[in-house]
């Protein structure tokens, strides 16, 4: 009974959004050059799915985002655990780290273009750069906020530093690491699409968004934005599913 209620509420929410959109379009006759009507956007969705490059576009964007994300995840976790385990390292680096994390990565795009050109490498690098700081800082916090009793316990019972890291500290930090990974996931998609819009590419959702914009095809623009949004939404759903199975001992897990 509870489950159906929740499902229905979600449905109502979406209907509300659609309704508002339709009202604004049909009743208030908003400028269609700015906000296309729902039927036009749905029609364009059909066009998009049937277009030649769609799988290539979707695939390229996903591949770039994923590549950048994975690089950032691995590096971020390793560096984060190091920083958390060696406080003097953290004290040294926390200020520059925070600085780079706070600088909008899109502001650094000219530098990336200069060093790595406009190919995939620069987009992946930018994505990895943006996501790295999120994961690293969250991983470091995970170690900081880990329960000292557990680490003490491990050492008392004869675990070496390395063993303690593997069997205790890593798991202790895991909830924070997962938070970092989740934020970085959305971030990866955002940065990749923005990069594609600015730097250009042969295939990519961001490229298509930019093209629709320059060619005044508003319905298509909204269509591509919607698809991009769906990709991000689905990615988060998948992540949440695995998160629940990965951390059964953590009581406070996100719901969807």
């Amino acid at each position: 009974m509870r489950k159906t209620n929740n499902g229905l509420s979600v449905l109502y929410g979406w209907l509300l959004v659609l309704g508002a959109w339709a009202a604004v379009s049909y009743l208030f006759k908003v400028n269609t050059a700015l906000l296309p009507a729902p039927h036009a956007v749905f029609a364009s969705l059909g066009d998009i799915f049937h277009s030649n490059g769609f799988t290539a576009d979707l695939g390229s964007t996903l591949a770039r985002a994923l590549a950048g994300y994975l690089i950032a995840a691995v590096l971020g976790i390793v560096v984060g655990l190091l920083l958390g385990s060696f406080p003097f390292l953290y004290r040294m680096l926390c200020s520059p780290l925070d600085f780079f994390r706070s600088t909008p990565v899109t502001a650094l795009y000219p530098m990336f273009v200069l060093f790595l050109g406009v190919q995939d490498m620069s987009k992946i690098a930018m994505t990895a750069w943006a996501c790295f700081f999120v994961v690293a800082i969250n991983s470091a916090y995970g170690v900081f906020h880990s329960n000292p009793v557990r680490t003490q316990m491990a050492r008392l019972y004869g675990c070496s530093s390395w063993q303690t890291l593997r069997w205790v500290t890593f798991y202790e930090a895991l909830p924070s690491i997962v938070v970092g990974l989740k934020v970085a996931l959305s971030y990866a998609l955002i940065v990749t699409v923005v990069c594609e819009m600015f730097m250009g590419s042969h295939y990519g959702l961001g490229q298509k968004i930019n093209d629709s914009y320059t060619m005044y095809d508003m319905p298509k623009l909204f269509g591509y934005v919607f698809i991009t949004g769906m990709v991000g939404y689905l990615a988060n759903l998948i992540f949440a599913y695995f998160e629940r199975r990965l951390l059964p001992w953590v009581k406070t897990l996100s719901s969807i």
């Binding site: 050059a33 250009g200 320059t214 298509k220």
Partner: protein
């Protein structure tokens, strides 16, 4: 009697100052908007009783956005954005004049990428900016030399990034126009090779106004036309000073300005002369670009006054 006459004249002058028409004009920092820059620099707008506020934007396409959104009344806009906007059915635009014909579109490539002749472009990565003159130029240029779009790797790049993309090696060639081509050539030095072909595509830049504004402010429209006509004359008679002004407003160096000068024709022309070009663009879009085949080619005369509609 003379004193009264003087007073009347002064009053009229004062009156015209107070009632100077306010116009927001969207321009790009680009030699293609040259007439606008010259008119502003030489005070022609003020002379014709126009209180012009200039919005400096990145490109003609942005100028069109500004006019559509209502933050500018007039903008200098190229034919590609006009061709595309036709497909949206937006009618509230009116082309006032043709301010410049530009043959400055070109493809700049790196010799080190193995490009000596147009045919070498086959199989290469070429950057262009979608929705702009560079898009039209690259497609048409390739078509002229028998290269299909599928035989090259076309990468959409923002105009400002064109130079870097070629220099940094992300692409082998780029289709763009004067400012960016010059920058790229300068940075590549001996490695640069440029492919011009004015027969393939000529860009028309027009001043385009919000139609309802134009219809309700015929005096301003006329004043604008006169100011631009003066600018056009000035350019013809004083090329050196005109180049200086444009170079200054566009942040271009004198050398690049010199190189591009012969490719730009600043004669002020009647708007109808652009109709053909825009219509051709529209047809081309319909035939060549995916997704447009199902849409009918728009009737672009909606952006022009029928001869009998013209005031003055």
């Amino acid at each position: 009697m003379k004193r009264y006459l003087l007073q009347v004249v002064l009053a009229l002058l004062a009156f015209s100052q107070v009632n100077a028409e306010k116009v927001t004009l969207a321009l790009a920092r680009n030699p293609w908007c040259g007439l606008g820059h010259v008119a502003e620099a030489k005070g022609f707008f003020k002379e014709e009783g126009l209180d012009v506020e200039i919005q400096y934007l990145q490109s003609g396409r942005h100028a069109l956005d500004s006019v559509l959104a209502g933050s500018a009344q007039v903008g200098f806009i190229g034919d590609p954005p006009m061709a595309f906007i036709g497909y949206t059915g937006k009618k509230n635009l009116l082309v006032l004049d043709v301010t410049v014909l530009s043959r400055a579109c070109a493809i700049v490539a790196r010799r080190s990428a193995g490009i000596r002749i147009p045919a070498d472009l086959r199989g290469k990565r070429i950057a262009y900016s979608s929705g702009t003159a560079s898009a039209f130029f690259v497609y048409k240029y390739l078509a002229k030399h028998g290269i299909k779009p599928t035989e090259v790797v076309l990468t959409g790049v923002q105009p400002m990034a064109i130079a870097t993309s070629v220099v940094a090696g992300g692409v082998d060639a780029a289709s763009s126009w004067d400012v960016y081509i010059s920058t790229t050539v300068r940075r590549l030095g001996k490695d640069a090779i440029v492919f011009h072909d004015s027969s393939v595509y000529t860009a028309y830049v027009m001043d385009v106004a919000d139609r309802s504004w134009a219809k309700s402010h015929p005096r301003a429209v006329a004043a604008l036309h006169r100011a631009l006509a003066k600018a056009s004359e000035f350019v013809a008679k004083n090329p050196r000073e005109a180049k200086q002004i444009m170079a200054q407003y566009c942040a271009m160096d004198a050398e690049s300005m010199e190189d591009n000068w012969p490719l730009l024709d600043f004669t002020l022309r009647a708007p109808e002369q652009a109709l053909n070009q825009i219509a051709q663009d529209g047809e081309w879009i319909h035939n060549e670009l995916e997704g447009y085949r199902s849409k009918p080619v728009p009737d672009y005369s909606m952006y022009f006054d029928a001869p009998h509609e013209k005031d003055k």
